[in-house]
Symmetry: C2
Subunit: 325 residues, 2 copies
């Protein structure tokens, strides 16, 4: 945690709200208005990019580059927009949005969840505004991303209720929905991500409950500058899990696994094996193990009778069969 995010004073701070709803009287409209009101009270300077009112262009095309292309023989949007950013040849609407982002201390995205993601008009804002050279420039990405002096926050409404977006719910864990947006976009550009503000299923709630959603948001904004960024890439996204394998996967593994090289560490051998498995599991996704190996082996030996242990000189790997399949 860098000290600048601790006890950040509100007055003078700049906030950009990127807002995507067609209807000013919607809950999204009210959430946006309340943010403008509350943050202005704190003497923050607030700018709103009201994408539908602006008729913001979502399509990433050749029109985004003013003048000649770097390679007009074969158009490559990523390469051309990067080059155009460096030369100052990006089209006016992109430049204006980049200027707003550049000046902002905090960017709030306010939108209704469409198909487990942002609406196309907001996706277009991300596709076109977060240009290489401006927002990221490999290896300047993730924690080293070019916008890493800024905070970002996703504030959205959903159609489904909270239970549907729980781990066991039909829509799956809401963290899967957050992943591409929070890690893939915001974190990639360096943004420090604040906890998402989610209003579950307002259309099926009472008027009273909807009002409560607004006051909760207003209340939160009063101390928003004291909030610490969340870890939007907690370990569980990366940890390899233990699951039963199908008989066919076991047969595949038995047929393709080679002796680990003595030149490799156990971890290297394990990673290699993991990639082999990924080729199978991409079609029939069943995650496999890594974990603390000695720990896992002992646990499995103790409790899983169907456990199959493959013991090698340099790497100990175990799979256990699912007898029900």
């Amino acid at each position: 945690m860098t000290p600048c995010f601790q006890k950040m004073a509100a007055p003078g701070r700049k906030v950009l709200i990127v807002y995507a709803h067609q209807e000013p009287k919607s809950l999204n409209g009210s959430l946006k208005n309340i943010a403008v009101e509350e943050l202005s009270k704190q003497s923050c300077s607030v700018t709103v990019s009201d994408l539908y009112s602006m008729e913001f262009e979502p399509r990433a095309t050749r029109n985004d580059i003013v003048g000649c292309l770097h390679n007009s023989e074969q158009f490559n949007y990523g390469a051309e927009s990067w080059e155009a950013y460096r030369k100052g040849c990006l089209t006016k609407d992109i430049v204006e949005e980049q200027k707003k982002v550049h000046e902002a201390d905090l960017v709030i995205f306010q939108f209704p969840l469409y198909w487990f993601s942002v609406p196309a008009i907001m996706k277009g804002w991300m596709d076109r505004v977060l240009t290489q050279g401006f927002a990221h420039n490999f290896p300047d990405c993730f924690d080293a991303g070019l916008l890493n002096n800024k905070l970002a926050l996703l504030s959205f409404t959903t159609g489904g209720n909270e239970e549907m977006y729980s781990k066991g719910g039909i829509s799956g864990d809401i963290h899967y929905v957050l992943w591409p947006m929070q890690h893939g976009i915001l974190h990639f550009c360096g943004f420090k991500v604040l906890a998402p503000q989610i209003c579950f299923s307002p259309e099926y709630e009472t008027e009273e409950k909807r009002k409560e959603m607004l006051t909760t948001w207003a209340q939160r904004l009063k101390t928003i500058w004291e909030e610490k960024p969340i870890n939007c890439t907690p370990e569980w996204y990366f940890r390899i899990l233990i699951f039963p394998l199908h008989q066919q996967e076991l047969r595949y593994l038995a047929s393709c696994r080679t002796e680990p090289s003595p030149a490799k560490t156990p971890l290297e051998s394990l990673i290699e094996l993991h990639f082999e498995l990924q080729k199978v599991t991409l079609k029939h996704p069943i995650p496999v193990i890594n974990y603390s190996l000695s720990n896992i082996v002992s646990v499995l030996l103790m409790v899983i009778p169907e456990c199959i242990i493959v013991w090698k000189k340099y790497v100990r790997v175990c799979y256990f069969t699912n007898t029900s399949q």
Copy 2:
């Protein structure tokens, strides 16, 4: 598996390719061309929606409804487009795309991955074409979705390489990227999903390797009608995981947990507790347990010395502390 997906004959089958790339000479363009060529050879009827050439409108607005609105006082895109679908008042470009989808046995989406998702122009196709009433109509969603007599396949190129999209890689497991698209969109509408066709990082590959990507795709298409749909919602997306809890979460749990009601089954009590925990973990995501309880309890008792067991009359729940935090 319904018998119709086994040994589906190619001749006469209809395929829609929804294609989003600005440059015909791109790898995406070639992948699209090869699909048209190969499927036509099989006497399939192939239609391409070339979104950039069509200048397809991605913005979901009031213009999508021809004539009067159902509620002009407060515009609600979802409700209005549903109503317009029923009355035949959707705008022409949406109707045309819906007709193509309606006729198709297989829909292939061909695109470069932009920001862990489809480009905005394709997101707009999904936002606008997959209307309630046409593609889904609660409870007619997921397996009962209105397009459940069709196959769908995501074919895309990435910037990052395969290792970056592995479980331990910096971009995280590719299955997280696939989740909103395959489960949240395609499966929601009922599509049977075929394995994705992913060309990792073609820009950083040799010309030879790029050619190989094309031939692999052509080869796969030869037997595409014999493929069985994948399970795009395997159990691991839903299973609640065991992870160490922070001391603060344990304290929170200790303070808020109430006695389970005798009227509830152990599973109901556990689910209730899980929701309590989700409120905490949404800000600091640390998944918690469910699993086969008796199994877990015995494993934990055996191997984790720091294990804290909360034993109740109707539900046995255990958390274990992470001593390193």
